[in-house]
Structures are given as C-alpha cells and as structure tokens.
C-alpha cells in the first residue's frame, strides 16, 4: 500500500495543498500542486512508469533524484522526461514508455 504520510512525529502534519488533476495512460488522477509526477503516481498506487523498451519488463522509480533515468516518461508528447524531477501540472498528459519492435533499427528513434 502506498498513499501519503499525513502526519509525522518530527516533521509535523502535511499542509493543505491545492489538488489538481492529471492523466497517466488515459486515466485521470489527483495530485497535489508542486509535487513531482513520480510522487503523485506513487501516492495513487501506480508503481510501473514504463516497460523496458526491448524486453517489456516493468520499471518504476529507482533513484528518485534524476541520476538513473529509470522513471522516464512522455509528458505532453515530449519523450524521455524524468518523472522524479518534473512537477505535475493541471491537465498534464503523462504516458508510460512502451515496448518497441525488435530488432531496433538504426536511427529508428528519429522517425
């Protein structure tokens, strides 16, 4: 189970943040304003952000600070965006990465 940590013995209770709506793979989710796409999805119980381009195995958040690129998603049509560094916005359209046809073609990503 995921979800939010509303109360914390040292850090205190979460302040009320504005709720916004965004889309992930066609479904609508609620996020808190000024949180990352990765945090918003995990809070909604979504762990898988893409599949391995060749093998199709699921991938999620790993380092959470932009180093590993495991959480790359497509945001409003732009590919390769790190969900852990990108703030979610009202109406944002986020899509997970998909398995690509193999064998990969040289320059195929540029089509």
């Amino acid at each position: 189970m995921t979800g939010r940590i509303e109360h914390h013995p040292i850090l205190g209770s979460l302040e009320n943040r504005k709720q916004i709506l965004f889309h992930f793979d066609g479904k609508t989710y609620t996020a808190c304003e000024s949180e990352t796409i990765a945090a918003a999805l995990l809070a909604n119980g979504v762990r898988t952000l893409r599949v391995h381009e060749e093998k199709g195995t699921p991938r999620g958040i790993y380092c959470n600070i932009g180093h590993c690129f495991e959480c790359r998603v497509t945001v409003n049509g732009v590919k390769g965006i790190r969900a852990c560094l990108t703030l979610v916005e009202e109406g944002m359209n986020v899509e997970s990465g998909v398995q690509l046809p193999v064998p990969f073609k040289e320059g195929g990503h540029q089509k």
Partner: protein, 403 residues
C-alpha cells in the same frame, strides 16, 4: 553580469553562494531538482544530545539567507558541459548557456548500485530515493520493506522510514560478489556499524563496551551472533548473517529470497527462504558525483576513503584548473555540516580571487572550521577520512609544483 555560477543548491552550494554574495559578488546557483536544498531536504536524525537534525529546516535557513543577499537560484536546470574559455567558463545547460568567470561544482554524491536479480522490479528503490519519497514528498514507498545493504546511510534512513510509520521488516546484506565486495562481508559491515553505535546506544551497550575496542571480541561476537535475528536498532532487525539472493515478483516486488551466510559472507546451502515485502531499498553507499569536473578537464585522484574518484583541490577548494572550484560531496563523502563548511571556504576563496576579501583571516578561519566540524561529525562515513583529505592536499600541492 554573473561573477560565479554554482552547480548544486545543496548545503555546499548554498553556503558558497552566501559567502560570495556577502562579499559583493553576483551569484547564480542552478540545481536539477525542483527545489533547493539538495540532500539536506531528506535528512532527519537524532543527535547524541537528543536534539533532531532536521535537514529541511537547515535548507530553509540557508535558502532564506541566500535569497536575502540577492543570490539568484534556478531549479529544474540540468548542467551537462563546462568548457574553458579565455574569460572563464562556458557552461551548457538544459536552459541555455552561461558565460561566467568562475565556476563552482557542488554536485554532491550519487548512490552506488548493488545489482541483484529482480532489482529492476517496480517497488525496488535506492535507499536515498526512498528517503526523498518519505521525508520530502511525504509519499509512502510501501507497507513492509526490506533494506539490502547495511551501512551508515541505510541505517539512518531505515529509522526515518520507521518514523513515518512504514514497517522495515529487516535489513540484510547483499549476496557477496565482485560488485558488492565488503558490503557482503559480515565482519567488515559489523566494524563499520560500530562507528554508528552512538546513534542507538542501547543496542550496542547490550553487546558490551569491550566489543567496541577489541577486534578479537568483534570476531567472536560475530561468530555467535545468530544468523537470523542478529542485532536490532530501534527494533529493526539488522541481520548481518543473512544475504539477499534475489528480489521476487511478477509485475512488482512481492518478496526477497534470503540465505544464511557465515562470518565471511559465504552462503549456507539449504537455508534459503522468501520473506514477503512490497518494497525493497538497495543501499550501496555513496560516491562523489564528479562527471562535470571530468568534462571540465580537472585532474583526479582515486581515494577509496573519500568514496572514489575525486577532483584534485587544495584546502581553498581550488582545483588545478583556473577558475574551477569544488565543494561538498564532490570532494569526498562526508556529512552535510562538512559540506556547508567547505562551501563557505569555496565562497570566500572565490571572493579573494576577485580581490573582494579584505579580511584574509576569514578564509583561514573558515578552513580551520572545516576541520573542527569534521572532527565533531555525528556520522563518520569512513574511518580514514582525515587521511584521504591529507592525501588530496599533498597531491594538489605536488601537481602545482610539477606544473
């Protein structure tokens, strides 16, 4: 007109920015993360005197001070190149180029991976990633987790997860292999744990104070420590004689297959079992994040006691490359307080280069402060840090005299 560009808005970068701005320099700080503070943001631990080190508050304090002094801070900016020009540096970023006379790299550290079968499953995170999710984003990483890798950082963060009401079922070692090396060796890990004994005094008092001093006693204790059970810190079982073989799951984490190991880390056949979990944290330790120093053409030294390859620098935090400075974990893995003290040195040193530091004693005092902070650090990442620091200093001096 920016006098100095600082890459990284953590404790080192912010402190450096403050010191520069206090001496009349125009400072710009960029950081890839959406908000400033760096790894300070997630830090939360109890000091031996019973007070809490709340990194979030520290970051806020530094940020307010920097903003008051007019430091320009841009977040969400990724820097990917730094090229030397006649006048200084041309720095390439996701948000365009910056032309600046002086460049300070305060990029911090990255986490070492401990690859094991199943580690790409959703629900497996680095321990630092889980820390950020928990303390910064305040989102639960799961219900019941297992930490693979026992070190200073992972023990501190396991405690943070627990404070947030997340159940850490146990901490185990990674199975020993050429990548994990000492991280899979119970004797080595136990010795490193004794250095954080003060974080959970009651745990280690039970083991007896003689243990803390004698290597023979440490070895004996380890032989008699039960493989499954081991020691506990804040009630979290730390199983130094169990290792993770594989993370199990179809679409996401469902459990971890562990095995009993002997005191040298060799698995005991027939003792494998699967422990259910819905998240796993991998803790391989930290290494300096140095790529930008490399592309900038800085010479390096390999010093395991500092966490790996570090850019050469003197005690004024100047590298051998003109106009290039470093501060914080890029120079070696230490705590946030040391990073901040180094940042102040770097800032004053840059101000001095610009001829804007009339009070020279400020810089020598700041250099001494780094030493004092290092000696008083609650969390010592490596027992031979002082030695590593001395080596870098000598190598830097040698490099200068050779040139």
């Amino acid at each position: 007109m920016t006098d100095v560009l600082i890459v990284g808005a953590g404790p080192a970068g912010l402190s450096a920015g403050i010191a520069c701005a206090q001496h009349g320099l125009q400072v710009k700080i960029v950081d890839e993360f959406p908000r400033p503070g760096g790894r300070l943001l997630g830090q939360l631990h109890e000091e031996p005197d019973g007070t809490w080190w709340n990194g979030m508050e520290e970051a806020k304090r530094l940020l307010e001070q920097a903003e008051k002094l007019g430091v320009d801070i841009d977040c969400g900016v990724s820097v990917y190149d730094a090229a030397k020009t006649k006048e200084g540096w041309s720095v390439s970023s996701s948000h365009g180029n910056f032309e600046v006379p002086k460049l300070l790299l305060a990029t911090g550290a990255a986490e070492m991976a401990l690859p094991l079968p199943g580690w790409t499953l959703p629900g497996v995170m680095s321990i630092g990633g889980a820390q950020v999710m928990t303390n910064v984003h305040r989102v639960r990483v799961g219900e019941r987790g297992i930490v693979v890798g026992v070190n200073i950082l992972s023990v501190a963060i396991a405690r943070e997860l627990q404070l947030s009401g997340i159940h850490v079922d146990r901490m185990v070692l990674p199975a020993q292999n050429p990548v994990t090396r000492d991280a899979g060796n119970p004797e080595k890990v136990f010795q490193s744990m004794l250095r954080v004994a003060h974080l959970a005094p009651s745990t280690f008092m039970k083991l007896g104070s003689k243990l803390l001093k004698s290597k023979t006693m440490q070895k004996l204790a380890l032989q008699f420590l039960p493989g499954i059970g081991g020691i506990r810190m804040w009630g979290i079982p730390i199983q130094l004689k169990a290792a993770a073989l594989e993370i199990i799951g179809d679409k996401q984490v469902e459990g971890v297959k562990i095995v009993k190991i002997n005191a040298k880390g060799a698995p005991i056949p027939g003792t494998e079992k699967v422990i259910p979990a819905d998240f796993v944290c991998i803790a391989g330790g930290l290494y300096p994040l140095v790529e930008l120093a490399a592309v900038a053409g800085c010479p390096f030294a390999y010093l395991p006691e500092l966490g790996g390859h570090v850019p050469l620098h003197n005690e004024r935090m100047q590298t051998p490359v003109e106009g290039l400075y470093v501060a914080g974990n890029i120079t070696g893995i230490e705590g946030a307080k040391v990073a901040a003290a180094q940042g102040t040195v770097a800032g004053l040193s840059i101000a001095d280069e610009f001829g804007k530091l009339p009070e020279k004693n400020l810089l020598s005092t700041a250099i001494e402060t780094v030493e004092v902070v290092r000696q008083n650090a609650t969390i010592q990442f490596h027992p031979c840090i002082a030695q590593g620091r001395a080596t870098v200093k000598n190598m830097s001096a040698q490099h200068k005299s050779d040139a």
